[in-house]
Amino acid sequence: MLAVRGLEVRYHAAVAVDGIDLHVEEGEVVALIGPNGAGKTSTLLALLGLVTCRGEVRYRGEVLAGLEPEERVARGLVLVHERRHLFGSMTVEENLLLGAFARYKRGERGIWGELERVYARFPRLAERRHQLAATMSGGEQQMLAIGRALMARPRLLLLDEPSLGLAPLIVQEIFGILAGLKAEGTTILLVEQNARAALELADRGYVLEAGRIVLEGPAAALRDDPRVVEHYLGIPGEESR
């Protein structure tokens, strides 16, 4: 599905991502964990083409270099941005419909059916369909951001910190929704600081530190790795950060 080789992202002199290789197979949930500033978000932005990068990104056999972000979205590579970037002055429903814009432009049918499926998945969005996005709570906005991404019918969903700044109960709810997506076979690349939740959901994981991958493997193995336990999961039983 996705194969990345030697990905490098620089912001002027600062190196954010320093030559990483990773891959995501169809139907897999892959977690990318690591501390703040490790280059997780930069990796996702580079995959979508929102920042310039070096290295090779192959998606479904196609080299993505030179494609605009919107062209990547049209190919089913969809990102839920860490800052969500909703259209605050538009209603929930308008935000969702715009998520399917690439499909609408192709003349695809079934967008309204997709909308009903998203509403079924997020009943709270259905209740608030005529409310302006900016007036919703953080958790609802996160649901809307995920819902908008689902409207594009992603083949590979890139999720950047879906739990960021949310109350623990809402985080549980969001991860419940992600588990549902996984059960339906959605391929997900998940960036999270909440390593415990991420590794419980994921099939495989990568640990990123200072722009390099320092550990990788099946999620279950990472959960038991002493370095991961010490740095990212904390003392067993204690809530991770």
């Binding site: 929102l50 800052r83 814009f101 908008r148």
Partner: protein, 332 residues
């Protein structure tokens, strides 16, 4: 005041107001989507009737070659983008063909002029604005002022300094409440009203229009949703050029047309757009009517100061806006 004179001034003001309203609509549209204040729009507004006048004289105006040339440059810039350059090349050929057709069939000159001028806007966006994505409002403004001088100079080269008189689409005068009003003016007012409604429906009801609004309020969000901000800019310029060119074609039979009229027209449309805070379409129309009526009455009472009075309108509007306005900002 004599009610007849009042009526004359009012109808004159409303007709000019419709023109300013159309220009203001186009400026608000472009600013909302791209943050560019499109000063050269005034030139493009005049290019349309001037092109029509030349076609009616049996000459092929320079705007045909300008339009086709800009399309070819665009094709060159997008040479690696699949079939796009091919379509642009065909469009350039089409513009030249339409030019020749409009020259030989006078009945088609109006439509031909519109079609010839139309590509100038989006092509200018592609060639001059797109290479500076996300530049500040000031950079775009300076670019727009530069383009204004270039297009005004081209206007002089293509059409010369003289004024052209154009035949009315709907000749004669209608009597409204005992007042003779040129039918062409009524046509202009109707066009402004219809375009306002169409723009409203486009931006509020169609997903494509909503996508343009989305690109205006949150660029990154738009790209995440698969909306091309570049395409949004081109479409905004296309719509603005179309609205402007139509306004120019409709007003020219009432007021003549010469190459240097565009700048003042653009500025007055800009005043009307400022009244709307550069964001509101209904207020832009109201601003246009306000500018038109104010101009008409001040040309009667203090004709030497009529431009000054119109531009002085900016001061109270800006003062009021500075204390009460909601700014169009990038959303998080």
């Amino acid at each position: 005041m004599d009610p007849l004179i009042f009526g004359f001034l009012l109808s004159d003001g409303l007709i000019n107001g419709a023109l300013y309203a159309l220009v203001a609509l186009a400026l608000v549209l472009v600013f909302a989507v791209t943050r560019a204040i499109l000063i050269p729009l005034g030139e493009w507004v005049l290019f349309a009737p001037l092109t029509q006048a030349m076609l009616l004289e049996g000459k092929l105006p320079g705007t045909v070659w300008l339009s086709a040339g800009l399309l070819l440059i665009w094709a060159g810039l997008d040479r690696r983008r699949g079939r796009t350059p091919l379509w642009l090349f065909l469009a350039a050929l089409g513009v030249v063909g339409v030019g020749f057709l409009g020259r030989s069939v006078p009945a088609l000159a109006f439509l031909a002029a519109l079609l010839v001028v139309l590509p100038i806007g989006p092509a200018s966006f592609r060639i001059f604005f797109e290479p500076l994505p996300g530049a500040s409002v000031l950079v775009y403004l300076i670019l727009a002022v530069g383009l204004h001088f270039v297009f005004q100079g081209l206007g002089l080269a293509f059409f010369g300094p003289e004024q052209f008189r154009l035949p009315a689409l709907w000749p004669g005068e209608a009597a409204l409440a005992g007042l003779p009003v040129p039918r062409q003016g009524i046509l202009l007012i109707l066009a402004a009203a219809v375009l306002m409604v169409l723009l409203y429906l486009f931006f509020r009801r169609s997903l494509y229009g909503k996508a343009l609004r989305a690109a205006a309020v949150n660029r990154i969000g738009a790209r995440l949703a698969g909306i091309s901000v570049r395409e949004a800019g081109r479409v905004a310029f296309l719509l603005a050029t179309g609205i402007g060119a139509l306004a120019g074609l409709l007003v020219a039979p009432l007021s003549n047309a010469s190459y240097e009229m565009g700048f003042l027209l653009g500025l007055k449309g800009f005043v009307a757009a400022i009244v709307a805070g550069l964001v509101s379409y209904p207020l832009a129309v109201a601003g246009g009517v306000l500018v038109g009526v104010l101009e008409s009455f001040s040309s009667f009472f203090a004709s030497a100061y009529k431009e000054a009075i119109v531009f002085a309108l900016l001061l109270p509007v800006l003062a009021w806006r500075s204390v009460s306005s909601r700014v169009l900002e990038e959303e998080e």
